[in-house]
């Protein structure tokens, strides 16, 4: 597997590979110049994602809080999120497809990172664009889902014929906030793919693909939690 090469490579570059893992943590942190053996952009993305994790955690905690303190019953997810296809009432079908698409996009992203480190520019660009395309289709389906909830079910952020008002409020706010993250990711991927194609990273190296990938995997991971808390609870 090509991925193993990259890991091997990393190990040989690491000066303290012989030391125990705990010792190497200590060595990194007591070193001069830098605390992590990575470009600053990657570390900055990690720290940003840590901060963003707090944003989503607080969104979800608030959602749990209003759900527990709501005075009207919460709507049943397998009824709200069901589609009727060819006369059959299928719960959670759309969201299953959406989740599958988003997780697939994480796969194409991981492949893009791998090809980037191999220096295969063409495949990297194609895989990043494929990832962006999958992300865009996720957004499209989300728009479809929102339309169905708003137009057919009559759910609004301020009102909900199927139960507690807070359902609409929390659902639109949190999936909307996540949707904005996915949209930003699609734009980010497209811009970076274009710049790679123009050869702007030929000298600097392709760390940028991994940095973009970190963001994209994070957005996918957040979706898993949103999915669990809104659709399975």
């Amino acid at each position: 597997m090509p991925n193993d090469d990259h890991q091997e490579d990393h190990k040989t570059n690491n000066k303290v590979s012989s030391a125990s893992s705990w010792q190497s943590v200590v060595n990194d942190w007591s070193a001069d110049k830098q605390s992590f053996d990575m470009p600053w952009g990657k570390l900055m993305m990690w720290i940003f994602l840590l901060s963003d994790t707090f944003i989503f955690s607080i969104f979800l905690t608030s959602y749990m809080n209003v759900r527990m303190s709501a005075t009207v019953a919460w709507p049943n997810p397998s009824e709200v999120f069901a589609l009727t296809i060819a006369g059959h009432h299928i719960p959670l079908v759309l969201i299953a497809i959406m989740t599958f698409i988003l997780i697939t996009s994480s796969g194409t992203m991981a492949m893009a990172v791998n090809y980037a480190y191999q220096g295969n520019k063409k495949k990297t660009v194609y895989l990043m664009l494929a990832t962006a395309l999958l992300g865009a289709s996720f957004i499209g389906m989300q728009a479809f889902e929102w339309t169905k909830l708003i137009v057919e079910e009559g759910i609004r952020p301020w009102g909900n014929p199927m139960g507690a008002n807070q359902f609409g409020a929390a659902f639109f706010m949190i999936t909307g906030f996540h949707g904005l993250h996915v949209s930003a990711g699609v734009i980010y991927l497209t811009v970076i793919a274009r710049r790679i194609n123009q050869g702007k990273y030929d000298e600097k190296g392709y760390h940028i693909v991994e940095i973009t990938g970190l963001y994209w995997h994070f957005v996918d991971l957040v979706w898993v939690f949103i999915f669990a808390f809104f659709y399975l609870w």
């Binding site: 990393h10 110049k33 830098q34 600053w40 900055m44 901060s51 607080i58 809080n65 709501a70 301020w158």
Partner: protein, 593 residues
Amino acid sequence: MTKMENVAIADQVDHSSHPSTFMGKYIWSQDHKVIAIQYSITAIAVGLVALVLSGMMRLQLGFPNEFSFIDPSSYLQFVTMHGMIMVIYLLTALLLGGFGNYLIPLMIGARDMVFPYLNMLSYWTYLLSVTVLISSFLVSGGPTGAGWTLYPPQAILSGTPGADAGILLMLLSLAIFIVAFTMGGLNYVTTILQARTNGMTLMRMPLTLWGIFVATILGLLAFPALLVSAIMMIFDKVIGTSFFMPAILSLGETLDHSGGSPILFQHLFWFFGHPEVYIVALPAFGMVSDVISIHARKNIFGYRMMVWAIIAIGGLSFVVWAHHMYVSGMNPYFGFFFATTTLIIAIPTALKVYNWLLTLWRGNIHLTVPMLFAIGFIFTFTHGGLTGLMLGNVVIDLPLSDTFFVVAHFHMVMGVSPIMVLFAAIYHWFPLLTGRFLNNKLGKFHFWGTFLGTYAIYLPMHYLGFLGVPRRYYAMGDTDFIPESAQSLNAGITVSAIIVGLVQVVFIINVIWSTFKGKKSGRNPWQATSLEWQTAQFPPGHGNWGKKIPQVHRWAYDYSVPNVKDDFIPQNVAPKDVEYLADEKNNNNPREK
């Protein structure tokens, strides 16, 4: 082709290009030093607005019904805007955006922040947030009068001043500020972690940087709570959701809201609000440590303990937030938990106070203006910290909550104390910016006026609190349990407050005058060891270091090392270059005499 090798920033070739136009140098500047000054000027300007607002509040409290331009609504608006501006737009911005920006690259030996463009955006976004905030003075209904805590439901209901546009502008401005802070904060943390110079390990950094570093991490993790609650409150206000709004009967009308949780907002607000106290306090702790050490010509006592105390305080600050909510009603076990964690914070904090005192002990204390402010800080901070211990206990907090005792407590601990350090820092680092000293006589006048004046303001307030005088009241009216003498005390406090306000005008004049006409300081006037004073060009130019970044050989506290010729050894002096006293018998180490 394989993965490109990662080269540490300190080992990279300097590609930085130097801007030549006025706009490039001073307006759209990406130089951390210029951005720091932009941040500082904006923060101080908006802080002066907040100072004037507090003067108006004091006029009303000291001499009720004398001033026709202050009505109950505008009084509440003054309270709210004063609090929010001081905490967020002055202290946070000046300590991190101002001092953080200026000192981080210089103290770690870097040429600039890792991402200068984002750093520039951070300032302009901050300026936008300030503009949005100030614009709320101009809209109909004026700024919000909900109190700086912005508790719903009242914050967004009619009846509260500024419930139409004011509260929205406030929430919007906060959201923009958080974006600005995040852009700056990512830079500060990443720069400290990845851009240090040769030999600069984390444990050789001056404590100023440790304070700024941990405070920035707190900010990146705490501001999300404020952002989320601002978003939810905007939705409650604008599109009628009910996150924070329960079923309410307002002015005889049943509102459309139902089922929301006002307590949720309080939890979110204080999950941000308590770390915010330490976002302000930790950089101040760090800077005061350095000022005390430099002006006492002695290494900081217990450097490692000081670092770990900063980290411990930072960690603990995330698990104490509900001590602001004892009167909101909570399970007694929660109260017990939060009271315990609150009191535990006193341990690392007291450790720091002892270490400052032990640094002074048998030091060669120079009573310069920065040192006076630093020693003043030890007084005000200990004072405010002790009343914090009282309020951390549930049974003491309940009767004192929402009285002037609380006002006195938090002004001493997070108002006056960080401001004392900020003044110490401004007097200390002013020569680095301008090559000139601030005027010494005016500085001493400024210190005594501020130090004695703030005590004249806040000591009596503790007493008012014990009497049960409530805070945020426009006027006491005929309240039986408050004796008339309380009013005389209030008048006295107001006179002191006006004097303290006027003393700050002297400071502003001093800064402006000294920038152009102050006494030339020469290079490294305080004989400090840390890197910011060791630049090739003085004051430091763009790129900070000229051709070669410095090599660090030691920690930042080599003061009065025995048998060494000078009483300080800069961090970039190699062991072989240290000049020792020729004759062992002439050594000036007092301990061996």
